[in-house]
Amino acid sequence: MDLPEFPPKVGVGDFGEALWNPEAATPPGLIGPDGLTAPKRFNVYRNNVIVSLCDALEQTFPALQNLLGEDYFKALARAFVVQHPPKSPVLIWYGSDFPDFIEAFPPLASYPYLADVARVEWAWVQAYHAADVAPLDPAALGSVDPNVLGSIRFEKHPAAALIMSSWPVWDLARANRFEPDEEIRVDLDRSQSVLIARPEFDVELLQLRPGGDVFLNALLSGATLGEAAALAEGQVAEFSLSDCLSDCLSIGVFTDLVTA
């Protein structure tokens, strides 16, 4: 008899390893009512793990699913889940590296705009769950001494994010998720940057005007108002400081301003 003397012990490590690998054998010691190893029963757990995590990605990235189609998205999500399983039980934080994964996924190399669409969707979820902080009152700017206006800096609102893209992400995100009923013609030769913020409880998206992305990117990196405006004016002829600043203030990109 080569039966083991004691029943095989199944550690959670063995269990977990076998969950990820559909080719792996069911760990011996996991049995059905007849006392025999039960692969189909073990597959229920395999299926629960993979499917529930793919569902979590589907909830975070619906525009991407729309662009790729349900079947392709499922296959892509499955590949991601196996290589990048979550590290936290809080699934609203799961998927931060999905955009980078898509960018580096060889079969999708000829669709380089997909990763930026995913970045917009990731920023949307983070904005949705961000801390409740009152945005800066636009009137606060009026009380700043005009002589020091150029040297003020802004503090970013926890919900705010800027996605700078070489692709028409604004149109792609609207057509595939946020404004599905609008007739939006996506022109892949255009580049668009999207601002995401949550002035109160609803997440808002805004397409930045020309130079607005350069300007806001500089502000969010710690530049003064004067430095950011000069940078944007130097790079983009049509840049309008007042329009871009009022866009940012209207959807609550900042919480506070700091005078030097």
Binding site: V10, V12, L30, K40, F42, V90, H129, D132
Partner: protein, 296 residues
């Protein structure tokens, strides 16, 4: 016992011995505008671990009007490694913020190493696991500062290495830690069917004096390798016809207990979920009438 909430505009924390429902974001507005007549709501703690935004705003609004049960699904109490201290702190913070009348977690594991598996995975019923689970529950109760309820699992495989029954395992846990039990009657039916045991016998042996809450939910039928029935705890449909009599059998012995309808996938419109809760409540009324007769 009545617990005074910390905010004057908030209703009492105590979860009544009535039926409740799992809270879904898409139902919140209808629940509040219709002032739905229901005993309580239960939420998965992990869905409210973001810093702010609409989920918290909705839950605050619900909590003002209804008692709440906080149900964790990701602590991995049955895991082989120490509990995630950050996650435990998040659970403690939610308990403090929302003052739920009930707080529960599962007899299962879901994290190993740094990986979170997002499923309630089974544990062997042996001494090493028992010791570990008890240590973990004591830690939870210490950090969160209250008694917790532990839910019996639905399982698809058994461990050959198990040396005790699930019932003895649960009894020993409550004896050592003082925790209560969340009796999921659907899980009992699913597990007993899957392991070819009698659900009635299981329930007759269950330590019903420790039960603080009951769960009811729907399951999906499948078959195993040998063509035997294999039920999947899917929470995607009505409570099965076979589960209601088991529920009635239990509450006729315990008297009315807070009872939750779980419906997490293929979530129906609010009226359908409410109707399930009302069906449970009719059984609770009958149980309370039987209890009165017994008392007389």
């Amino acid at each position: 016992m009545s617990v005074q909430p910390s905010r004057p505009d908030r209703t009492d924390a105590t979860v009544p011995a009535r039926a409740g429902a799992g809270l879904k974001a898409e139902h919140v507005e209808e629940i509040l505008t219709s002032s739905a007549d229901i005993g309580f709501f239960e939420v998965h703690a992990e869905n409210y671990m973001g810093a702010g935004g609409k989920p918290h705003r909705q839950l605050e609004a619900i909590r003002d009007v209804y008692p709440l049960s906080l149900h964790g699904v990701g602590l991995s109490i049955g895991g082989e490694q120490p509990l995630d201290k950050d996650h435990l702190q998040r659970l403690a913070a939610l308990n403090k913020r929302y003052e739920p009348g009930l707080f529960s977690e599962h007899l299962a594991w879901s994290t190993h190493d740094t990986t979170y598996y997002n499923d309630l995975l089974p544990v062997p019923y042996d001494k090493a696991t028992l010791d570990r689970v008890c240590e973990h529950i004591e830690e939870v109760q210490d950090v969160v500062g209250r008694k917790m309820l532990l839910e019996n699992p639905s399982t698809y495989v058994a461990f050959e290495q198990s040396t005790m029954s699930e019932i003895d395992f649960l009894k020993e846990i409550t004896r050592r830690t003082g925790c209560g039990l969340l009796l999921d009657v659907n899980n009992v039916y699913v597990s007993c069917t899957n392991h070819e045991r009698s659900a009635e016998t299981y329930l007759s042996e269950f330590p019903i004096g420790d039960v603080g809450e009951i769960h009811l939910g729907g399951h999906a039928p499948d078959v195993d390798d040998a063509g035997r029935p294999l039920l999947i705890d899917a929470h995607d449909r009505e409570v099965d016809d076979a589960v209601w009599p088991l529920y009635e059998m239990i509450v006729s012995q315990t008297g009315p207990l807070p009872t939750l309808i779980e419906w997490d996938n293929e979530v129906p419109v609010w009226s359908v979920l409410l109707a399930e809760a009302q069906a449970a409540e009719r059984i609770l009324h009958r149980a309370s009438a039987t209890g009165l007769q017994r008392a007389v």
